[in-house]
Symmetry: C2
Subunit: 202 residues, 2 copies
């Protein structure tokens, strides 16, 4: 059972668990993750984790929410200027042109988690929300570009789905093949699409 | 052990196993697939399967090869005319705009199999080859379009990677979320990209 201080600091404790989950996932990947390994990274007992999350799946669903919240916070503070630049910035954040080891491992973790969504309804709902939020972020930038006259009057929803599908597909390919340069090639073509297809020709 | 006729008809027997695997995957999905369930669909014993494939993974790798061979045969007989139409035809084959139940189930099966490639080296090699072959098919059509003057002088490799990433990402989203119209929206935007970005403006 939880101590008083755990209850008072529930949200701080949850944040610590999320940070420990992130470090454990980066080190071990999704397949080998256990509550024990998260507890090791947390330097607390497994009970401290089970107080907040009934199962490993509950914890992972919360982790996905935590990761997307954090991603969106970064995007919010780093965008808001020229729509073309903002769009490229979001694409670079989602699919770095030259991912470092941590970013590659994070991609592998996300693909591992996401594959559960084929059969697991709770993960499926979570990834439905994640894609909704990401496509919303992209769509808002495209809309802003159309309003400002930077972009042509395209269907912002369709374009946003196209960009998200390309980013997700390239990340998926990077995590499931040895095709080293494929994701970068798709990224460059996507950037040229944003430049030439979306931007109004002056 | 195999009978003489099994040895003589090894390739016919393997084809029957592949067909039975396909039916079993469509009915049960990837997660519940077993050699027993394939044997049921084959109306033969498990030993008849183990004669050709040592493990379920061996069989699944062979199945992936079989599926891609068949896909490429279809594409070869159905393309060879106008590059824009050929490209749209390949995209429609890979990602049907209105997938029926069998096509949806096949997508879920492929995503399930592909998720194994994050950690399984043999599956990873297989999906590396699959993506190489698919991107080659797309690239050849783009090159033909450039040679014929139908397409602008784009980088055919980059464009092919972009198209494959979009198709894979949309299929991936369809199998792992409940976002019903997302794949169709990405498809429509991809078609408009092929029409307006690739085609030479006359």
């Amino acid at each position: 059972m939880a101590t008083d201080s755990t209850e008072k600091n529930g949200s701080a404790a949850k944040n610590e668990i999320m940070e420990a989950t992130y470090r454990a996932l980066l080190e071990q990947g999704y397949a080998d993750l256990s509550i024990s390994s998260i507890a090791d990274h947390l330097e607390k007992s497994k009970a401290a984790i089970y107080y907040h999350y009934d199962t490993k799946d509950d914890l992972l669903v919360a982790f996905l929410e935590f990761a997307v919240d954090r991603f969106e916070e970064t995007i919010d503070t780093e965008t808001g200027n020229e729509p073309t630049e903002d769009l490229k910035h979001v694409v670079e954040k989602l699919l770095p042109l030259q991912p470092d080891d941590e970013q590659r491992q994070l991609q592998a973790v996300l693909v591992g988690l996401r594959s559960q969504a084929v059969t697991n309804e709770v993960f499926r709902e979570q990834f439905t929300q994640i894609d909704e939020r990401l496509v919303g972020t992209i769509r808002d930038i495209v809309k802003r570009g159309i309003d400002k006259g930077t972009f042509r009057d395209v269907d912002s929803s369709r374009v946003a789905e196209h960009i998200l599908a390309t980013v997700n597909g390239a990340m998926y390919g990077q995590a499931t093949t040895d095709r080293e340069s494929a994701a970068a090639a798709a990224r460059v073509s996507l950037a040229s699409y944003i430049d030439s297809e979306l931007r109004r020709r002056l």
